[in-house]
């Protein structure tokens, strides 16, 4: 069984993001980029399924410019067998991404597609569900545990107020939450080995029509700052301030 893992290259989560000078986008010039943290959980899950003998191949896929080779190498070092860059200079919306992945699924015929539950740049959390819909496959979003047996995936999902367990008939799409696993730390030998693994590039246009409507980004702003606060001397002052603000009785 083949597992396809979609990964995204995003601004590193430790970077303080800023709008560009014209306020039309997010500043990426000179900014550290990394693999989306949730996609690392998805990759780790795929690699563990392979290590457990439940999958035969893990294919990591990124969509974007040639710069994405760094996150694909990272994926190979984590244990993916092959990496594929669907190359495009355009920034794709979720539906466009889902359509590109659908076309790729037709070529690669994976039984399972894994990806992060959201990307920490646009925080949209849409692609996995959209891909599942386009393929008419079942989906399990926000997964915190996955077991595979007899063509069925049993998935624990994080939901408001607790968790639930679903069973999906394979093929299926699963999106990973942070608590699915602790992604492995990449050691130097793994990084060296990754250099020898295949990293293929395919122009996105060659996948065929991936026309889809997309949103237009008009502006990016810092949210209004909260008014400056006060450091108080003791608990009594705090209680008095909270009573004055009418948030305590």
């Amino acid at each position: 069984m083949k597992i396809l893992v979609q990964i995204k290259r995003v601004i590193d989560y430790q970077v303080t993001v800023r709008p560009t000078a014209d306020g039309r986008n997010v500043e990426t010039a000179g900014v550290k980029m990394s693999i989306n943290p949730f996609d690392e959980n998805a990759l780790e899950a795929a690699v563990r399924l392979k290590e457990a003998g439940l999958a035969t191949e893990v294919l990591a896929v990124a969509i974007g410019s040639a710069a994405n080779q760094d996150v694909l190498r990272h994926a190979l070092a984590m244990g993916a067998d092959r990496a594929l860059l669907l190359e495009t200079e355009h920034t794709l919306g979720s539906l466009q991404t889902a359509k590109a992945l659908k076309a790729l699924v037709a070529r690669e015929a994976p039984q399972l597609v894994l990806t992060g539950k959201q990307a920490i740049d646009d925080d949209a959390a849409e692609t996995a569900q959209m891909l599942a819909a386009l393929l008419d496959w079942p989906q399990a979003t926000f997964a915190s545990a996955i077991t595979l047996a007899d063509g069925v995936a049993t998935v624990v999902r994080e939901i408001d107020g607790g968790q639930e367990t679903l069973q999906l008939n394979l093929p299926a799409v699963i999106s990973a939450d942070l608590r699915l696993n602790d992604p492995r730390f990449i050691k130097l030998p793994a990084l060296m080995m990754a250099k020898k693994k295949p990293l293929e590039t395919l122009p996105l246009a060659e996948l065929g029509a991936v026309e889809a409507p997309a949103l237009t980004l008009e502006a990016v702003n810092e949210p209004p700052a909260r008014p400056a606060g006060r450091v108080l001397g003791n608990v009594d002052e705090l209680v008095a301030a909270l009573r004055a603000a009418k948030v305590l009785s």
């Binding site: 993001v17 997010v26 692609t127 079942p138 107020g161 607790g162 069973q167 889809a212 008009e218 909270l242």
Partner: protein, 312 residues
Amino acid sequence: MSVLVIAEIDTHGLKTATRSAISAAAQLGGEVHVLLAGENIQGIALQAKEIKGLSKILVADSPEYAQGIAENLSPLVRQLAADYQTIVAAATSFGKNLLPRVAALLDVAMVSEVTQILAPRRFVRPIYAGNLNATVAAPVGQLVLTIRPTTFAPAELQGGAAEVVAVASTGDAGKARFVSRELAVSDRPELATAKVVISGGRSLGSKEAFHATLTPLAEQLGAAIGATRAAVDSGMAPNDWQVGQTGTVIAPELYIAFGVSGAAQHVGGIKDAKIIVAVNTDPDAPIFKVADYGLVADLFTVIPALQSALKG
């Protein structure tokens, strides 16, 4: 053109977040209808009739909708969508799971976690854990939106007189099966909608200390308890207590953070709180940048002192 709101039903009935989605839908203009899909939900439909601003309730009462399975619900919504300009749901785990599936079936580029409706096709939504806001425009055609419930006041539960109409089930898609659900039972308020939330970070030290330290104060304040990811990951608190980008986004009247450093991913989930209080031993902790009131102090001495000050 009308708006269809996809309702979310839990063990208590119609979720408050659905009424927030109804308020957002009302801002879009046109009639607001609601789809109630579930099993044995006639009672909930009768309650929902009273919601202000609602003109029609579509009731799909069938066992395959009992557990909110997206594979079963999405064909139903897709079929009903033919009569609507816009489909809206709250950005809860239910709405976030379902609506992208619906949007893809309708070939629509959806807008998720809308916090402001600027014009019928222009919206503000948070990006980068709420550190930035994006203004986005949706192309012509149908709209599919999830709205952040904390930024739209719930529609009032009275004053309405909606018509109730039954709709036929689209059946079981046979792709996903519900196995079980474990929901936390608590007599404290729900984290997402509580007026007061107190939260703890990694510095609480252990699961036992986390509960022993925070629970009595939460009970005294009638507060829900939240936690940082670090506290959740180290097993001190259950995962559904996590506040932030990847947990619950909250907007209580009062938020008190005990031993929380204030990482961007945490702060993104509390920015809309009316008053934020931070208690941290480190005067340089980033949480103080967003706090209205701060105490540079040990949480283990502040909490008992706060408890006795509240009694007096």
